[in-house]
């Protein structure tokens, strides 16, 4: 046990962040038309070999990589290479973007109009823009925005166009293509479309990866994609998907480019356009298929106030420096580089680790609005059973306390300090009238169907289930705001929960419990694999610094003023702890032989609804299918549940009841952490 580890983290409070500029301000004063037709001359990559998108396709189809795969497939299947080439060409045709400046100009014009109506401001850190401009000239650039809304990628292109930066090509899911005209317009604004799943299709993979690599290597355009793979419906960052990151790192690892700059971009919405849509999706109301007509129906959005957007272009991360000392690049010396190979374990670990680092870099620069803190407090209050809501003054007091705490934890909080806190609170509340209301000086969530008919919500419910569902929509919507701050609190919260559960003071035991929880929740939150000790030390450091804990060689002691902090942190994690327990209980009590992954969510939802209605469970947010799926993923990962192969399409699940039971008890603090944890302090 080495608790005398020198804390090497920089003080989060000292984290230097750039200032923002509102880019809509100029749009409100000058002509949108002139702006859309402005002279656009971005700085380009210094090693650029200029080419048209048709030439680009030829380069892809003629590449050694693709030709190799085509020959292989021809040998395997007996199909002629010509046929396969034609197939490859068709895939590419379906995939490729057709970036056109005129379309971008059209979007620039149209979006200016929309943005000005819907948003108060779009704030961008201009220093980040300057860094990006530099980076684009030096090395091929990969833009990695967070993904919370459909808006994200149009917004990105809009910003880059505005600041005269090279327009990116964007990896988009095929589902967009369903939206007829819009799909094509997106294509012309730089989107290229990839199928959601093509696991076994070697040809598709070869075309796709070669297409991306060719654009990257030639410096054709910055490549943009979402590390999280899809929009996060919960506003928590999602576990990164590695496919595209693998592809864009490959040219560097194989020495085809000197370096690749990875630029994490954090887009934070004060109010998410898809707010209740997401909540309903998580509750099992299926997601409406993307369609152009659907988009027009969504135009009622135009009449609402969605506050501001903050876009933070992070420090470009050099792939080279990420790989420094981690990857031995000479491993590619002995096999021709165009022959596809499964990446070695070393490479996989490296890509995975890099992905987590990049997602954390996104998280760190997410701007948090005061409302995020208010939502956290209101949810906790609600869960504590206070049906009446909170006194406005009390809420303000607590919010100020939480503001200070989150700042100590390094949150990028936009709390205007020049305005009295009560004003800040009431302003925040007013923007979220659909979720919260003030009556008689008390603030409460709009859980009861009052006088206001909520747009997008069904008419007053009849059955208790329906009523519960309606309440859950509000709670999940609120939770999605609280979730925005989870990355700030998660490590201290894991420690607080570990303290709570371990009910001893010995540091080693607390670390064991911390590790257990961290491991349990590593599908739920962004926790970099293998960083237990670092995370633990970070949590200790933050809690000691905020005065909540005292830590010596062997013991962890809670200070008098620490109880409040720890209670808050424990409660923040509590819905997840109880949710996972619920899933465990379901699997032990109700999982039948034939339970499949497909049927898991509806079944567990039914089980949880029952518990909620009976009052044995207080957190309606446990109804979130996201949480349920994450819990299952964790149990699968830990081996407590197994997928049985070969029983129909959807693998059946086999539950190890003893193990699931003991996991549930350990989560509940009834059992001490059993497994000796490999990592020692």
């Amino acid at each position: 046990m080495a608790s005398k580890v020198v804390y090497s983290h920089r003080d989060p409070m000292l984290k230097k962040r750039d200032d923002f500029e509102d880019m809509l301000e100029e749009r409100r004063t000058t002509s949108d038309l002139r702006y859309a037709l402005k002279c656009y001359t971005p700085a380009l990559y210094k090693g650029l070999t200029p080419c048209k998108s048709s030439e680009l396709k030829n380069m892809v189809l003629q590449s050694d990589q693709l030709l190799y795969v085509i020959n292989q497939l021809s040998k395997e299947t007996g199909t002629s290479t010509d046929e396969i080439e034609a197939e490859a060409s068709a895939i590419l045709e379906e995939m490729a973007h057709r970036l056109q400046l005129s379309t971008v100009r059209f979007f620039a014009f149209a979006l200016s109009k929309v943005f000005k109506t819907v948003f108060r401001s779009i704030c961008v850190n201009e220093e980040g823009i300057q860094r990006l401009q530099q980076a684009i000239q030096e090395h091929p650039v990969v833009l990695l925005p967070s993904h919370r809304s459909y808006m994200d990628f149009l917004l990105m292109s809009y910003i880059l166009y505005t600041y005269d930066l090279a327009l990116p090509v964007i990896a988009a899911g095929m589902d967009f293509m369903g939206m007829q005209i819009i799909g094509e317009m997106l294509r012309m604004s730089g989107a290229f479309f990839i199928r959601r799943s093509f696991g076994g299709d070697k040809l598709y993979w070869a075309v796709f990866s070669e297409y991306v690599k060719t654009m990257l290597k030639n410096g054709y355009a910055p490549v943009e994609f979402f590390l999280e793979g899809t929009r996060s419906r919960t506003a928590k960052s999602l576990t990164p998907k590695l496919g595209l990151l693998n592809i864009v790192l490959d040219p560097f690892l194989k020495g085809e480019v000197f370096d690749v700059s990875l630029v994490p971009v954090s887009i934070s919405y004060e109010r998410i356009l898809e707010e209740t849509l997401y909540a309903r999706e998580l509750l099992g109301v299926p997601k409406p298929k993307e369609s152009t007509s659907g988009l027009f129906k969504a135009r009622k959005i135009l009449s609402e106030d969605y506050g501001s957007i903050h876009v933070y272009f992070g420090q470009p991360v050099s792939a080279r420096s990420l790989a420094e000392g981690r990857v031995n690049r000479s491993q590619f010396n002995l096999i021709p580089r165009h022959i596809p190979r499964k990446p070695a374990e070393e490479i996989q670990d490296f890509v995975n680790d890099s992905a987590y680092r990049l997602v954390r870099a996104q998280e760190e620069n997410m701007v948090l609005k005061p409302w995020v803190l208010l939502a956290s407090l209101l949810l906790q209050n609600q869960a504590a059973g206070n049906k009446q809501g909170m006194q406005l003054e009390e809420l303000t007091d607590q919010a100020v306390w939480l503001r200070d705490l989150s700042r100590q934890f390094g949150a990028f909080l936009h709390w205007p300090d020049n305005i009295p806190p009560s004003k800040v609170v009431s302003c925040s509340l007013s923007l979220h009238q659909s979720l919260v209301r003030i009556s008689e000086g008390r603030v409460q969530l709009t859980l009861e169907q009052g006088g206001r008919a909520e747009p997008g919500l069904p008419l007053p419910a009849v059955t208790p289930e329906e009523e519960l569902l309606n309440r859950a929509v509000i709670i999940l919507s609120c939770a999605s705001y609280r979730n925005q701050a989870l990355h700030v609190f998660i490590r201290p919260a894991l420690l607080a929960s570990a303290l709570h559960a371990a009910s001893v003071n010995r540091k080693q035991e607390i670390f064991n419990t911390f590790s257990f929880l961290r491991n349990m929740f590593s599908d739920e939150f962004i926790l970099r694999p293998g960083a237990e000790v670092q995370d633990f030390e970070e949590a200790c450091y933050l809690l000691v610094k905020s005065g909540a804990l005292q830590i010596n060689q062997q013991q962890v002691l809670v200070t008098d003023r620490g109880h409040r902090t720890l209670a808050f942190l424990t409660s923040i994690l509590d819905p997840f702890v109880q949710g996972y327990q619920m899933v465990c209980r379901f699997l032990c009590e109700e999982a039948t032989e034939g339970l499949t992954e497909k049927r898991f969510v509806p079944a567990v939802r039914k089980f949880i609804t029952k518990h909620l209605l009976s009052g044995r469970l207080k957190y309606a947010e446990v109804l979130s299918s996201d949480l349920q799926k994450n819990a299952l993923a964790a149990l699968l990962r830990l081996g407590a549940v197994q997928r049985l192969r070969g029983r129909g399409e959807q693998g059946a699940l086999k539950v190890n009841t003893v193990m699931v039971n003991s996991l549930e008890d350990t989560l509940g603090g009834k059992l001490p952490t059993q497994k000796p944890v490999a990592a020692r302090l």
């Binding site: 020495g255 000197f258 370096d259 690049r329």
Partner: protein
């Protein structure tokens, strides 16, 4: 410069003369009066050579006291150096080279604009060797006594010892210029023949003396550095006086040569008999046959003549275990692993090469330079690859990148007439304006063809046709020849740079064809990035050229140099950058070395290069051949 004299090779003597004029072509300024240059005039030594084989000929380039003709703290002959004259123009002194006595008007601007150097900021070298800075020798009295009785000459003089304590790595020369002298040999011996070497090695074993073989002293791998931890008496075994051609066998086209002969002497003497080896490493003025064998050297014209391993038929080496040699001179043998390959590349760790049978060829009848301009480096590399694929590489083909092309331009001597400068202007206009080549991207390949006249012309056409497919334009013989002249004077140029705070060096690698462009780009970029990271105040020169082509790859040469003003420990920074560059080379599929060798400079990467088992194999050979580490230069392993 093509040698245009007729192909009528009636008399051998005439051929020899012709051949000499060719060599002189790239070594020496043309003689004013005489069209056919005599061998004597090629080199500084004025005495008439005696070409009877088997007898020591007088007038060899390298005297026992090297200090008589060579610099003690820089490259080459004492009388040849670059300097800025009173008018601030660069000038190359002496009479030995084509460039000698000429003004090079572009050099000052190039130096200033490339490095941010200034003539005002000078970093002069210590002018003379201060003997008091030299540690007194550790003398093994018993060894010296017995050696004296054999009659082999030796010396304890400080100058002699210092001269043999270094090669030409930057850090070695930098230290000398600052008058800093570390561990150096305690004495120098000059064996005269194989038997002398046998005696010396026997005595060294008997008295436990450390031997370090010394040939031409042109190492760039720290191979000649004395290990500072060595406590035994270190004896430098200088082979320079073993420089005879023992016999020439015209039936088999081989020659038996003592290992100490330097390249230019070997060629000159063979030329007198109408032959050549065709082995022309850039260091051939000073490097020795034994050194080539010990480092696996490569020559510029290897496409026709082969590298040293292709040229060598028989090697005799004296080791602590005895003499190792093969019993016959068969052209190829299937007798287990080739023992020659333990010797070639052993870098003086196993013994001393004393005699070598080397292949010889009749001197080529005709020689022609050429050059091709490409719109960019990528096209140039593609062309070289195609030439290699068709196996029609000329004797030499080298591709310089844009920076080197500019550098080559800066080295253009003052033109003699307005007409020439007008022509130059016209050429430049044609290439950049008419053909649309970007002067900041175009690059040049230099060519050297050799053989009989008809074939050369045919060959030339074939190569130019290939080049045309890759957008290459023939750019004349002059440009080609200038490229090869640069090879011989570039080492002198480093000394000039060092006078003005600019340090630099070259290093090389070999790499598969598909990696050539990647390695060039990445290593150059790595150098730039590392210089920036290490606080170098000025952008460095980071440039490369492809110098050899093979079926499966190419040899790439990198040059890098920077202005070190403002750095407290420039050599350390330099070494860090070079280290990083080598890591980059290895990460990009390049080899540890194509022909410079490993020495002590690149030892740390040997294990990953040849695998642990490979290291064990090499080590076990060393352990058997030299169990007491008599050949203790600690290179390679």
């Amino acid at each position: 410069m093509a040698s245009n004299s007729s192909g009528d090779s009636s008399s051998r003597h005439q051929t020899a003369r012709h051949r000499l004029s060719v060599i002189a072509g790239h070594l020496q300024r043309p003689a004013d009066s005489n069209a056919a240059v005599l061998a004597v005039e090629c080199k500084a030594q004025g005495t008439t050579p005696n070409i009877r084989t088997g007898v020591r000929s007088e007038g060899r380039t390298v005297p026992r006291r090297r200090q008589e003709i060579m610099k003690w703290n820089g490259w080459g002959y004492s009388d040849s150096r670059f300097l800025f004259n009173k008018k601030g123009q660069a000038e190359f002194t002496g009479k030995r080279y084509r460039l000698s006595g000429m003004i090079i008007p572009g050099l000052k601007d190039w130096l200033e604009s490339t490095f941010g150097a200034s003539l005002q900021h000078k970093a002069p070298a210590t002018p003379i060797l201060n003997s008091s800075a030299v540690q007194p020798p550790t003398v093994n009295e018993a060894f010296v006594e017995e050696l004296r009785s054999t009659g082999v000459p030796f010396s304890h003089e400080a100058e002699d010892r210092v001269f043999r304590s270094h090669g030409h790595c930057l850090h070695e020369i930098f230290a000398l210029r600052e008058g800093k002298i570390g561990r150096i040999p305690d004495m120098v011996v000059w064996p005269n023949c194989h038997n002398d070497v046998v005696k010396i090695v026997e005595l060294a074993c008997k008295h436990n003396v450390c031997l370090i073989p010394y040939g031409g002293g042109t190492s760039v791998s720290s191979a000649l550095e004395c290990p500072p931890e060595e406590t035994r008496s270190i004896v430098s075994l200088d082979t320079s006086q073993m420089n005879r051609i023992l016999w020439i066998d015209e039936k088999n086209l081989t020659a038996r040569v003592e290992s100490g002969i330097v390249g230019q002497d070997l060629e000159r003497l063979l030329n007198e008999s109408g032959y050549c080896t065709g082995h022309e490493p850039d260091s051939m003025e000073f490097s020795s046959l034994g050194g080539w064998v010990a480092t696996r050297a490569s020559g510029m014209k290897k496409n026709i003549y082969g590298n040293i391993e292709d040229l060598v038929v028989h090697i005799k080496t004296v080791t602590p275990r005895g003499v190792i040699e093969k019993s016959c001179q068969g052209p190829r043998m299937s007798t287990g692993p080739d023992i020659h390959h333990f010797i070639m590349g052993s870098e003086g760790t196993l013994g001393v090469v004393t005699e070598v049978t080397i292949k010889i060829r009749p001197m080529p009848e005709y020689q022609k330079y050429g050059s091709v301009v490409f719109p960019n480096f990528e096209q140039g590399v593609a062309c070289l690859r195609e030439v290699a694929k068709q196996r029609c590489a000329p004797a030499s083909i080298r591709l310089m990148d844009n920076e080197q092309f500019k550098f080559g331009h800066a080295l253009k001597p003052q033109v003699s007439s307005i007409f020439t400068s007008f022509l130059d202007g016209l050429k430049k206009f044609y290439i950049t304006k008419f053909k649309g080549f970007d002067p900041n991207h175009l690059c040049v390949a230099t060519l050297l063809f050799e053989g009989d006249r008809e074939k050369v012309l045919q060959h030339e056409k074939q190569v130019y046709d290939i080049a045309a497919k890759f957008g290459g334009l023939a750019a004349g013989e002059d440009n080609g020849q200038r490229g090869y002249i640069m090879t011989f004077v570039i080492a002198y140029l480093r000394d000039l740079g060092m006078d003005y705070y600019v340090i630099g060096e070259s290093f090389e690698t070999s790499v598969p064809w598909d990696r050539v462009l990647d390695i060039c780009r990445n290593v150059k970029a790595r150098i730039v990035r590392e210089c920036k990271d290490k606080g170098v105040q000025f952008p460095p020169l980071s440039t490369c050229r492809v110098t050899q082509t093979y079926d499966a790859g190419a040899c790439v040469y990198f040059y890098f140099a920077f202005n070190y003003r403002g750095l407290s420990d420039p050599v350390h920074v330099y070494e860090q950058v070079e280290h990083a560059a080598r890591e980059e080379v290895l990460a990009n599929g390049g080899s540890l070395s194509h022909h410079h060798g490993v020495g002590k400079l690149r030892k740390e990467w040997m294990r990953e290069t040849v695998s642990t088992v490979g290291m064990g194999m090499l080590q076990s050979v060393k352990d058997y051949v030299d169990p007491n580490n008599i050949f203790g230069n600690r290179n390679l392993l």
